[in-house]
């Protein structure tokens, strides 16, 4: 197991390098000069030139790239000029908010997705199953930003049950209850699509397991149906779903960009939109890097988990 994790971590190094390289090239392709953007209208050509030197913008491409890479390794992501604040602090703070939202959405995805998948497999031909199948189909087809707007209209505007946006209320302190109240709608909007995908996959995997010989054996020897479904079919189906859950975790992180904009959630997605509009390249770079790296780690975690649970993969 340790050897496997070590091997996977080793594989991540070239992937990480590729991520940083592509990111760096993309940011270089953005029109406009970071030094000019930072100094704004009060810039004199001499000042722009001096800042370009400070920022090493006058250096050859690879010198800039490896300089930047070295800074990242030392944990220095530069200063976000539009906020006058270190990129690292801003990105980490915003990423915390995104993790809360993505966590909520992922919980929705797991609870509803696995639950619905299990139900669909257990009641393959029932009326309930047909209704749930229809719901999962709708879930896959509906874009989550549209779902988000719909939720806002229904639950915030019409019913006044939940707030339309933000992470905390303006009043009454930042309590856990307040946070949950604000979390419900965006995490549902974001998590339902992922849940629908998960449910359909879970159903397929469980049905496949249920058609296996050992299930027939288990039933023949008189094992209770609950145990057959709960222990054999669910666990074995679940193992096959884990890598997809890893992908779904990545999806909710990526989807946070527009859900955060709709719900005014102060996360990294909204930060990226604002940073792009402000042409704050260092901030964009830092934000995208963090999202990319976390995506890699989530998938690593999913693979490790699957490895730990599935004895067949150990050979």
């Amino acid at each position: 197991m340790t050897a496997y994790i070590f091997k996977r971590l080793l594989y991540m190094v070239p992937v990480l390098l590729a991520v940083t390289f592509i990111l760096f090239v993309l940011m270089k392709l953005v029109p406009g000069d970071a030094a000019e953007a930072m100094l704004g209208p009060y810039a004199t050509p001499e000042n722009v030139e001096r800042l370009r030197e400070d920022m090493q913008l006058d250096q050859p491409f690879f010198v800039q790239y490896f300089g930047w890479l070295g800074d990242i390794v030392r944990g220095d992501l530069g200063t976000a000029y539009s906020l006058d604040r270190p990129v690292r602090d801003e990105v980490l703070e915003r990423f915390g908010a995104t993790l809360v939202l993505a966590g909520g959405a992922f919980l929705v995805c797991c609870l509803l997705g696995l639950g619905a998948g299990f139900f669909l497999a257990a009641r393959e031909h029932g009326t309930g199953a047909k209704v749930v199948t229809l719901m999962t189909l709708a879930g896959i087809s509906l874009p989550s930003f549209w779902l988000g707007l719909l939720f806002i209209l229904l639950f915030a505007v019409e019913l006044h049950w939940l707030p339309a946006g933000g992470m905390y209320s303006l009043f009454g302190g930042e309590t856990l209850g307040d946070l949950l109240r604000h979390l419900v709608l965006p995490s549902l909007a974001l998590g339902l699509v992922a849940a629908a995908v998960t449910a359909r996959l879970m159903r397929t995997q469980m049905l496949e397991v249920l058609s296996q010989g050992y299930i027939r054996t288990a039933r023949a020897k008189g094992l209770r149906e609950a145990k057959v479904l709960g222990k054999h079919a669910f666990i074995n189906g679940f193992i096959a779903v884990i890598p997809v859950l890893g992908l779904q975790a990545g999806y909710v992180l990526g989807g946070a960009v527009y859900i955060e904009t709709i719900f005014q959630w102060p996360g990294i997605g909204r930060m990226l939109v604002q940073a792009i509009q402000a042409r704050d390249l260092l901030l964009v770079q830092g934000g995208v890097l963090l999202v990319g790296v976390s995506y890699l780690f989530i998938n690593l975690l999913a693979d490790v988990l699957q490895h730990a649970l599935d004895p067949r993969l150990k050979q």
Partner: protein
């Protein structure tokens, strides 16, 4: 077949979990009494009145600071405010102000002649120890001030280099508001986040990208405001601002999109506020662009744009078509002989052909949102379509407001062929003087981002601000309007009717023609304010 026990158990747990969640989510944050929540589109850049330039910032500043004089409510006439009265010397160059006594800044320090002197010296004197707390982009409002003399604790005299007609109107604008010298000395560059004025409200909290909170200032010299707290919430997305109002989280939204205004007009649960003002929305042409240096192309663009369609259909009557660089709101200086360029695509095509500019590609700077910019993306696209119809290929580049301002104010040369822009002013002098004179090119520190130059216009504008006779001044502005109309350094599109929408909890709000936003007469309440 009954449901498998495991599913049943799972369902029970899921149900319990959701119930717990909903319990945790019960409203535990009732809105405090006498609290008003305003949602506006941009985070303030600074609450230092001399640093700020945008209407979003001014909305807050207007309630935190005061000037020596102010615009009379409901008009653009000047009335005494922190100065009880003033005298102007015979040559029009010395203004003596007699200050109100017993006024305090929010930090507790007294308002006196020294504070007035300090305020303007920090703004104007590059040697001043706190001049580096800027930059002060609108400092040239007061560039005619030669010296400020403290006569006694409550008397102060401004000596101008030359007679300057718009001086009082500029004092009534946020750039002329008085700051607490103690607070600036203490906080220096941080003052813009912890401001201290003499106004009816003081700033008690500013959470980046969330809100600025004002509270009633208990030691205020004037009438006690009814509101105890005001939140200026930053909600950048237009639809999100709407849902904030509809869901009751916000009481008031400003700069509401035209089609939404229609939606609120007939609903008794909401109030719609509208007021025309001295605003102008226009395109700046880059006269150093190889295509636009030809006056025929500039006129062609003026003919090609369906201004009527933009103002009345696209903006649904929330703006009126404008003709020249002086908004119609300044009735006395307005030139009624000038008609806006008619919508005439054929004439435009002919002019473009004559100039040999068919198929030219033009870069057009636009902004996401910004103070006074109406619907900047939509209007840019409408203009793009109109110009495509006459054979000009327009590429729109969109920027966030502060970035956009930096780019445009720095001058368009080498960047773009044209840019959209909007100004709100307090005197007919301000806009043309700052944006059309050759001495106002970006490299000179002005806002003439398109490098228009006409010696005659320069001269008239210089002359107009020295003229103390109102009729004479007006005649000069009319001449400027005529020439600028012909030479078309801009395409003047529309003047805005500002608007706001509130729910029915809000009472006593009125929008000012000066576009300054005063909350001192506003109250909230219908007995339901405990529920959020």
């Amino acid at each position: 077949m009954s449901l498998p026990p495991l599913t049943r158990r799972y369902a029970v747990w899921l149900f319990l979990g959701l119930a717990l969640l909903l319990w945790g989510c019960r409203p535990d944050n009732a809105r405090p009494l006498e609290t008003l929540v305003i949602a506006q589109g941009a985070e303030p850049k600074s609450l230092d009145p001399h640093v700020a330039t945008s209407l979003n910032d001014f909305r807050i500043l207007e309630n935190v600071y005061e000037g020596l004089v102010r615009f009379k409510p409901g008009s653009m006439e000047i009335e005494p405010w922190l100065a009880e009265r003033w005298e102007v010397s015979g040559d029009g160059k010395a203004y003596t102000f007699y200050l109100k006594e017993g006024v305090r800044f929010h930090d507790g320090s007294p308002f006196d002649a020294e504070a007035v002197k300090y305020t303007f010296e920090r703004l104007l004197d590059s040697e001043h120890p706190e001049h580096d707390t800027g930059p002060f982009p609108l400092a040239f409002f007061f560039s005619q001030v030669e010296s400020i003399e403290v006569i006694d604790t409550h008397t102060v005299r401004f000596q101008l280099k030359e007679p300057f007609a718009p001086f009082l109107a500029n004092l009534a604008y946020p750039t002329g508001y008085i700051v607490s010298p103690d607070a600036v000395r203490l906080l220096r560059g941080g003052y813009g986040r912890k401001p201290s004025g003499t106004g009816p409200f003081h700033v008690t909290d500013w959470q980046s990208n969330r809100f600025v909170r004002l509270e009633r200032f208990d030691d205020y010299w004037g009438e006690r405001p009814e509101l105890a707290q005001v939140y200026f919430q930053t909600v950048t997305d237009e639809n999100a601002r709407l849902t904030e109002l509809l869901s009751g989280s916000a009481d008031l939204i400003v700069e509401v999109a035209p089609d939404l205004i229609q939606y609120f007009r007939d609903d008794p649960a909401y109030r719609v506020y509208e007021e025309s003002g001295p605003h102008l929305w226009f395109l700046i042409f880059n006269l150093r662009s190889p295509v636009l240096e030809d006056v025929r192309v500039r006129q062609a663009i003026n003919y090609a744009i369906d201004k009527q369609g933009i103002a009345e259909e696209f903006l649904q009557g929330t703006a009126t078509v404008a003709a020249g660089p002086v908004p119609r709101a300044f009735g006395w200086a307005y030139n009624d002989d000038i008609q806006p360029y008619p919508y005439d695509p054929d004439e435009a095509r002919t002019l473009i052909q004559e100039a040999g500019a068919e198929g030219a590609t033009l870069t057009f700077y636009a902004t996401e949102s910004g103070s006074g910019m109406l619907d900047p993306k939509g209007m840019a696209q409408a203009i793009q379509a109109d110009l495509a119809a006459v054979g000009l290929d327009v590429v729109i580049e969109t920027y966030e407001w502060n970035t956009f301002l930096s780019k445009v104010n720095g001058g368009l040369e080498g960047q773009a062929d044209m840019a959209e822009m909007a100004w709100m002013t307090n005197d007919p002098d301000t806009l043309p003087f700052l944006t059309l004179r050759s001495q106002a090119w970006p490299e000179e520190g002005g806002f003439n981002s398109g490098y228009y130059a006409n010696e005659q216009v320069d001269q008239w504008l210089e002359q107009a601000r020295r003229e103390t006779d109102l009729q004479q001044r007006a005649a000069l502005y009319r001449k400027v309007q005529q020439v600028v109309h012909e030479e078309a350094p801009w395409a003047v599109i529309a003047s805005w009717r500002q608007n706001a929408v509130s729910n029915d909890r809000v009472h006593g709000l009125r929008l000012e023609p000066s576009f300054l936003f005063r909350l001192d007469g506003v109250s909230v309440g219908d007995g339901k304010e405990a529920a959020e």
